[in-house]
């Protein structure tokens, strides 16, 4: 829910929206490719990955020591490396993006948190406290760690497997089905919206006023909503034609192998150790 100033020269909202849609599709396609790779995590049972990486996120959230959170981050990087995920991609997609967002939130805490003064900015008389520095460190390290672990999960497991693995946490079947359908339609609508904006862009000559831009934005959203409803009707008919009468079944075909059990024990003991030392 961000707002930023419109000092963009000739690039208008259409181009920016196209960029956003494009990067989301790009991310989804990259995830699809890397999830079918031959790395260490890709071979594991999705349930072990979902539970294990969620436990590590929880360990970093519970830790009250900065070095423990840094250790979780290191573990996440090691997991990414043995799963053949590009560290450069993680640095640009996760670390840099998270840092810009969290730093904007954390920097004022350097000055606003009461405590022992360790430095005074010359000229401004603003004081940085040791507590402010620690709290900013907590915020940045925790959000970087959790974002890295989430990315490792998403880029080593097909999306539908992650959703199916949620059954492990007793998430109701209907909810898993809705999540799965939504995931598919997001990709379809992303493509639809992308085409819609591309075709609009190709028909736009010269600059538009902000009022015109707003009207186009609303009209495009309305058109997308229309397509959404049309699709919903078609999907409903298709479901009915295939015999959908309200009962939902999903195939729980995951099987734990020896390696999965070993990984589960590894995740559990690592998390327990981190929670213990991080108290």
């Amino acid at each position: 829910m961000t707002g930023h100033h419109h000092a963009r020269g000739r690039r208008g909202f259409i181009e920016y929206t196209i960029d956003g849609l494009h990067s989301a599709m790009d991310r989804a396609m990259y995830a699809d490719r890397s999830a079918s790779g031959r790395g260490a995590l890709q071979q594991l049972d999705p349930r072990v990955k979902v539970a294990g990486l969620a436990a590590l996120i929880l360990a970093s959230a519970m830790a009250a020591k900065l070095w423990v959170i840094a250790a979780v981050l290191l573990a996440a990087v090691v997991l990414a490396a043995i799963s053949y995920l590009s560290i450069w991609m993680i640095a640009t997609r996760v670390w840099f993006a998270t840092l810009t967002f969290t730093a904007a939130f954390a920097v004022p805490a350097l000055f606003l948190t009461p405590g022992t003064i360790i430095y005074t900015l010359p000229g401004l008389l603003w004081t940085i406290t040791s507590q402010g520095l620690t709290t900013a460190g907590f915020l940045i390290l925790r959000s970087e760690t959790a974002a890295t672990l989430a990315l490792v999960l998403v880029f080593t497991t097909p999306w539908m497997h992650i959703l199916k693995a949620l059954r492990l946490f007793r998430v109701p079947v209907v909810f898993v089905v809705i999540l799965g359908m939504t995931c598919r339609y997001i990709l379809l609508l992303l493509e639809n919206a992308h085409e819609m904006f591309e075709s609009r862009k190709s028909r736009t000559v010269g600059p538009m006023t902000r009022g015109e831009q707003r009207r186009i934005a609303i009209a495009s959203t309305g058109a997308l909503l229309g397509r959404t409803f049309q699709l919903s009707g078609e999907v409903y008919l298709a479901m009915q034609s295939r015999g959908f009468r309200g009962e939902v079944y999903i195939l729980d075909d995951f099987r734990m192998q020896a390696m999965d059990w070993a990984a589960a024990i590894g995740f559990a003991s690592l998390t327990a150790a981190l929670v213990w030392v991080g108290r």
Binding site: T2, A54, L58, T116, A146, I178, R214, L224, F229
Partner: protein
């Protein structure tokens, strides 16, 4: 407003997962009951749609851009319970697959935006739209204001969640472990952006799309149109809802009113002129006013204005009743009765006004 990981403590996150679960449960039960209908694909597609419109940068008046969440529109089309699910699903997918919002904070984010947002949007939409026809402009305004209110109440919840963290969670040196800003910083910081940019984006999208649906497919607005649907088809008997639970609740609350006496002290800013003469009450005022000492005599203006009107049930203790508990109960009965009487009269007047005017034909 998508709270990332690390901003809220694990216990806060757990509390919000626990707080959201009953709402999700009820919503799922309702969806299961309606499973044979079009609701499942509709919810899925609506979540996908909400996800998408969070990516549309909307140029706003004043030179900025913002994006909507779609709570207002989802509530108007799907009703509050299905909207809760649709927005939750969009938020979960954003957090899991696109890194927008934290995984530990999914419970809090869903509580703020999907649950509180949908309920606020529903209440505002129904209250403002009233019994107006489905294609009336009043419904466009109602949807816009419902979206605006929903996003702002959600932001306020998020700000409060941020603001309580430094009070509760600190390390040995006193450094906050999670969000470091107290309520005095978090609330204005969150609300300024939402009352202006994000609120406006939600308002424009909700109002604009309801207008679009009025033109393209008004039947989609029926789910939350209530009596307006009945107005369209005079042959169909109007479905009246039983008010019994509300009456029972009201009676229970009235019986419980004497519990109010248990609370000691005076509410901040509700002091009487005579309170300033008592040293113990002055101390209480100072304690609750950041240790600002209270004046030893009542301010002159307060002293003068205080005499203007003496209420018959002053301080909820009618002078002719000895028992404080019974006096409290009687005040509650009298107050509630008075409110009902006024509402009844207003409804009577409004009905005369509405019936007197020719109705606009609805689609």
């Amino acid at each position: 407003m998508h709270i990332p990981d690390g901003y809220l403590s694990p216990s806060t996150c757990a509390a919000f997962y626990a707080g959201s679960t009953p709402f999700w449960y009820v919503a799922l039960q309702r969806v299961k009951r309606a499973m044979h209908t079009r609701l499942v694909p509709l919810i899925s597609l609506f979540s996908a749609f909400c996800f998408l419109i969070m990516m549309f940068n909307l140029p706003l008046p004043g030179g900025t851009t913002g994006h909507a969440v779609g709570i207002g529109l989802a509530t108007v089309v799907l009703g509050p319970w299905a909207a809760m699910l649709a927005v939750s699903v969009a938020l979960i997918i954003q957090a899991l697959f696109f890194g927008d919002g934290g995984i530990t904070a999914i419970g809090a984010n869903c509580f703020n935006m999907a649950i509180v947002g949908s309920l606020v949007a529903y209440v505002f939409y129904r209250a403002i739209a009233g019994r107006s026809p489905i294609i009336s402009f009043r419904r466009v305004v109602a949807a816009g204001l419902a979206g605006y209110a929903a996003i702002n109440v959600s932001a306020l919840f998020a700000a409060i969640e941020f603001g309580v963290q430094p009070l509760l969670y600190k390390d040995a040196s006193g450094a906050p472990l999670y969000c470091p800003y107290p309520l005095s910083v978090s609330i204005p910081a969150m609300m300024i952006g939402h009352l202006t940019i994000a609120g406006m984006a939600e308002l424009i999208v909700s109002a604009g799309l309801v207008a679009f649906l009025q033109w393209s497919d008004p039947s989609l607005l029926k789910a939350t149109a209530g009596n307006a649907v009945a107005l369209e088809a005079p042959g169909r008997p109007r479905k009246t809802r039983s008010l019994q639970p509300i009456w029972i609740g009201l009676c229970v609350l009235m019986i419980l009113t004497p519990l109010g006496i248990l609370a000691t002290g005076t509410a901040w800013g509700e002091w009487m002129a005579s309170d300033f003469a008592s040293p113990s009450i002055r101390q209480q005022i100072a304690d609750s006013s950041l240790h600002q000492p209270a004046p030893s005599a009542a301010p002159r203006g307060l002293e003068q204005m205080y005499q203007l009107w003496t209420a018959p049930f002053s301080r909820y203790a009618p002078p002719y009743i000895r028992s404080a508990g019974f006096g409290y109960f009687l005040s509650a009965m009298f107050g509630a009765g008075l409110v009902m009487l006024v509402c009844f009269l207003v409804v009577r007047l409004m009905r005369g006004f509405v019936v007197g005017r020719p109705r606009q034909p609805a689609v």
